[in-house]
Symmetry: C2
Subunit: 207 residues, 2 copies
DNA sequence: GGTAGTTTGTGAAGGATTTCACAAGCCCAC
DNA sequence: GTGGGCTTGTGAAATCCTTCACAAACTACC
């Protein structure tokens, strides 16, 4: 398949949110213009984004909300659950483990791990923090393909290496350090400080 | 000034990290190639990024680490502190309030607020959760220009409106909903579920 | 002082993404 | 069934971002 820009995928995720809201309000169809207005983009952009994957609308009418939800779910791979592990049960890891939004989208947290014996055993929602030495066994058993990495900077790279070796195929990294992973593994780093710095830059450079 | 792409600013933030590491190891100069390798980009990109703001290197030699750190700090606006408020003392808000990386970059959290009386008074590091009714007075007094918004989806928009009215100029939004703010206010939304969905898409669409 | 070896800064080229603009298709009313 | 009013899907144009490639400038060493 042709390469799809990340910005396109990000917008599809956003459209999906809006569509679910429309569905909740029992609106049956929606136009590219409506989705665009909500998403802060243009109707042409919405149509182009969808057109990479097929033809989902009806001219003159717009898109059937329920059908488009199904289609986008399938495009994003959300038509089946994604067992996920969280590594690091510090403040951020624990917060994410209890985060509603993940489960709602099919990212089932099947385990949260920490190297600190003091944290092991802590209950978090329906989970209990487990020892990081259990990671390999649990990954082999529960077959999560995604890991959310919330460990301190110093141990992020070795832990990423362990996860890759254990069979993890995608890592969402919250440690403020760029990680090296093999090409067969997908990596995304979310760095809160960088986001604030972008804000600071904008404030500094706009009159 | 000419418009600068967000990707450029994001990379500058990254270069700054590397430069600080080089400085900690007492390396005095660095080439665009070294920065590029660490950052997963090309040396031409590094030089182009910097060239938007001036000419910082010496041909044949590279960049003086300490001087470039100073220059990038100034470009990003990190040469002075940024008082910041966190709104919402739930799991994510509390985690961010205690996050080391913010203070390290000059984002001083001057207050954390919540509407839930049960949370008000909770100590977090050197701060105590305050009532959200204190927001307007505190913003007027402490003059933060940046707010980190960690409230539930349902109240995110009204709270953003309040913050804007109170004088906040930039919002980092963790609520999974796009907010409307006036053009004079900068907004960034970080949506964890979207990040996971991008991973899911990649896993689904790579052989 | 001159030469070899680096590395920067930057126009120009190339590639990617967004926007434009319009034909084609659909519904509804009559 | 025909016309009017919408809305999609999509090539083409425009814009934005990255990579290329090379002259200019510096150090080191003889």
């Amino acid at each position: 398949m042709k390469h799809i820009a990340e910005s396109t995928v990000r917008r599809l995720s956003l459209y999906l949110r809006f569509l679910e809201e429309f569905d909740a309000r029992a609106q049956a169809t929606v136009s590219s213009g409506e989705l665009a207005r909500l998403g802060g983009t243009t109707s042409a952009q919405v149509r182009k984004d969808l057109s990479f994957f097929g033809s989902f609308g009806k001219r003159g009418l717009g898109y059937a909300v329920k059908a488009l939800i199904e289609s986008i779910r399938e495009i994003l791979g959300l038509d089946h659950p994604w067992p996920t592990v969280i590594v690091g049960a510090g403040k951020i890891g624990a917060a994410l483990a209890q985060h509603r939004g993940f489960a709602a989208r099919g990212f089932t947290v099947v385990g949260i791990y920490d190297a600190d014996p003091a944290k092991v055993g802590t209950p978090l929602d329906r989970l209990t923090v487990r020892a990081d030495s259990d990671l390999e066994r649990d990954i082999a058993r529960l077959k999560p393909r995604i890991a959310v990495l919330c460990v301190p900077v110093g141990v992020a790279q070795p832990m990423a290496d362990r996860l890759v070796k254990a069979g993890i195929k995608a890592i969402l990294n919250f440690a403020p350090v760029p990680l090296a992973v093999p090409g067969s593994v997908t990596l995304r780093t979310v760095d809160m400080a960088t986001e604030l710095e972008i804000l600071a830059f904008t404030l500094t450079n706009t009159p």
